[in-house]
Assembly symmetry: C2
Homo-oligomer: 480 residues x 2
């Protein structure tokens, strides 16, 4: 166990904060609920951002930028929207040395301002679909902040699209949920359960909200991203209409979808262990660290030269590699430094390795001396590349196995209440409850309906709370 | 002259707004002084951003993210800083449904919050230099807004660094000014004059401010970016100190440097003409547009097939190419559409071109029928690549020639006052004025001292305003 890191079994919440501090991912800011994203944490977000941005562009979306400050009256135009967001707003009342005539809201999300612009830009069916995305900061006043997971200001992308028909908009909603699902599996090595939110849990202003839910290392759920079918709710509030091919004026059908810096929190909590952060290679700012070892000056020079030669070979294959030649630090100190930061693969090379023509390798996802192995220097770049692919796959597989082994089926609410405190995890249940049932569930167990998975069980059963027959299954869990 | 675009000779300001509207670069937002950056405008900023980000990383900087909201008291810690920024601040007084105990400022720049964190992170000389950058939005209440050039909210990058010595910090200040200078010439095809700002024009809180000044199409100057040597001003205000190798506590020496979305405005005003936007290839989201021409269905199919084949060949060389196959639009309409948007190279291909094995090319920087030329289809990708390189160089050369032909030397203030209204441009003068002289200059002529160029004239002369002998030259001009 690493110094300064609480055991996750003992206190998962404290472990989470310890890892963030020791890996230098973020720091608290002077304003309550805000955080500073430190360079190492930000570089993980940058990799996520670049990968997602490519996926958005491949699916036909363009980036744009809409203003941070929104007239307060805009939010009031959509009744559910203002009700949902009012308690969380930060409000600018003074600017340029004067009191403003109308207060401005620091955007909590941009549906309203974007619809204001869409109503200006969209005239005919030829303008549709309009497929936009923006990378931005948003502010939602947070009473129970937790770094990355819940912060007053956070970074995110918000996709906003307008379509001629309900079918097109629903298809887009599904498409982006799938983009998120693929990204999480392929890049973050996190298996997710895509599903629909209940009425109670949907976005304020949406017709329906879809989510990707993943399981953290303590068995709790995390909502990793959402994709909303907005119907014509905002279009009606903002008069966003188009002329169809028959010259009829119609409201556009819309979607919005987003993921945030909380994904960094998910990566910490899905993969991390008692030694600190554990990064899947595709998300790791540094995928391979080479630690040269040598006491005498001539040994150091010889080892260093070979280390850099290997690093160059790896860079040519696009591998992000660092040679750690810091002076005055022991190899043990360096091993720990990179272990806490979750670097997937560590290579040690000393004079004896040099003579024998190999390096000693350790995978971050298989800690312990007994798991070290040697890699021949000849053709090392390709071998390292293969290792990284293996690690990526192994980490996804491990997360999947963990989720499966912590997923339970339960038929009665009484059983659930007894089981949940003992074995936190995902509970698959038959579900036919309403919002009142959900409130009761949450009050009595602190668990919530995470989603109604897209992949439903065949057949029917009786709702585990109401007893009513139903063909719908739900995932129930404690959640962040 | 393009439809809906005022002649730049007739009314440069209106021409600028017309180009922005017709090329769909930005739109005005409901909050005064704010703008929406539309997808085409944003994609130019994205290219700038990616290129600059690489240059920052190559010079050893890491990205991080600091909070949007800053306690009001932080700004007051550095006396000049608060005086400079107070009139421009937007202030959050209410959040989460309550009045805040201390108002929060929406960041106008981040020196204060960053120094707050630096004072926590920097302990020893081993922590230095600390080289950070952030890409962010900032808000400065703007009374005379103009899209891209002056907006209440704008996007920018702000580099913030801390060093052990004055020499290191001064070197960093110069290095980043050079990075900006190179970027402007190599990517934006804009020659700049790097120089130092006068006391009157320097950043509020800096010891010295360096700038890159470029000439717009009407002879006015635009400050494209700044690099500040902050000395120990903020370090003293925030107690940002380190222990040196001899265990002495010392203040760090700091720099900050930034460029903003106003660079998009510079590109419009340096290169644009009466036909609209004109983009240097390295900044163009679409570098080449292929317009297939054909009346009969079988002609269309044959031409389209070849157009796409050529496009694929170009994409393999990394060229950003689009085949415009929109239905129901004439070739003339398409030509105009891409001309207004400044696409550097247009290729037309019809049945006859197909038979003759070539395409008809037009460079955006050489308008007119007489400048069309043919390119053989065989090896077209390489030929197009060469053309793009030529266009890039020609555009830089044209901007340089324009600047040279609008740069004047003048010895007396009386002459200057007579000349400036007739021939706007850069005036090189001997300069030994103080802030009062600068105020008089601005009041009487609306011109300002743009910079004291790094490259100074040899010898000495008499200050064109005070008559005092001096070895300093200055560039004086009207400016945005």
């Amino acid at each position: 166990m690493a110094k300064n890191i609480t055991s996750p079994e003992k206190d998962f919440s404290r472990w989470y904060l310890d890892v963030i501090r020791e890996a230098e991912l973020s720091d608290s800011a002077p304003v309550r609920g805000c955080m500073v994203i430190r360079p190492y944490g930000y570089s993980i977000w940058e990799i996520m951002k670049n990968d997602l941005d490519n996926r958005f562009k491949e699916t036909g979306h363009s980036n744009a930028y809409f203003p941070l400050l929104i007239p307060e009256s805009f939010l009031k135009k959509e009744a559910e929207h203002v009700e949902g967001f009012s308690p969380e707003l930060a409000i600018v009342t003074h600017a340029g040395g004067k009191k403003l005539e109308e207060p401005l809201v620091v955007r909590p999300t941009s549906e309203t301002i974007i619809n204001h612009m869409f109503s200006k830009w969209i005239n005919s069916y030829r303008d549709l679909p309009m497929l936009l995305n923006q990378w931005a900061n948003v502010v939602r006043w947070e009473l129970r902040p937790r770094p990355f997971l819940r912060t007053t200001e956070f970074l995110w992308q918000e996709g906003h699209t307008a379509h001629a028909t309900q079918e097109d908009a629903q298809e887009e909603t599904n498409r982006m949920l799938q983009v998120y699902t693929d990204f999480m599996a392929d890049i973050a090595a996190i298996p997710v359960i895509p599903g629909r939110k209940t009425e109670k849990e949907k976005f304020a202003g949406a017709v329906s909200t879809y989510t990707i839910e993943s399981m953290m290392g303590n068995g709790w759920a995390l909502q990793g991203g959402t994709s909303h079918y907005l119907g014509t709710n905002f279009a009606k509030a903002f008069e966003t209409r188009y002329l169809d091919a028959n010259n009829q004026r119609k409201f556009v059908h819309q979607t919005s979808w987003g993921v945030t810096t909380r994904l960094v929190g998910a990566v910490i909590m899905v993969h991390g262990d008692e030694h600190g952060l554990k990064l899947p290679p595709k998300l790791a700012p540094i995928q391979v660290v080479i630690v040269p070892i040598g006491r005498k000056e001539e040994e150091k020079i010889a080892v260093s030269e070979v280390a850099h030669k290997m690093a160059e070979e790896m860079k040519e294959l696009g591998i992000r590699v660092l040679v750690d030649e810091r002076d005055g630090m022991s190899p043990g100190f360096k091993f720990n430094h990179w272990e806490v930061r979750g670097v997937p693969l560590r290579l040690e090379i000393g004079p004896r390795d040099l003579a024998e023509g190999h390096v000693l390798a350790s995978q971050r996802n298989k800690p312990g001396r007994e798991n070290k192995f040697t890699i021949p220097m000849e053709g090392i770049a390709q071998a390292v590349n293969n290792s990284l692919t293996d690690i990526q796959n192994e980490m996804l597989e491990a997360a999947l196995q963990f989720r499966n082994s912590h997923t339970y089926e339960v038929d009665s609410y009484e059983d659930f209440k007894k089981l949940l405190p003992k074995q936190p995890g995902f509970y698959k249940v038959w579900w036919d409850g309403n919002s009142d049932d959900e409130t009761k569930l949450q009050e009595e167990t602190k668990a919530t309906v995470r989603c109604l998975p897209l992949e439903q069980r065949d057949g029917t059963g009786n709702c585990f709370m109401t007893g009513r027959p139903t063909s719908t299954t739900a995932i129930i869990a404690r959640a962040y």
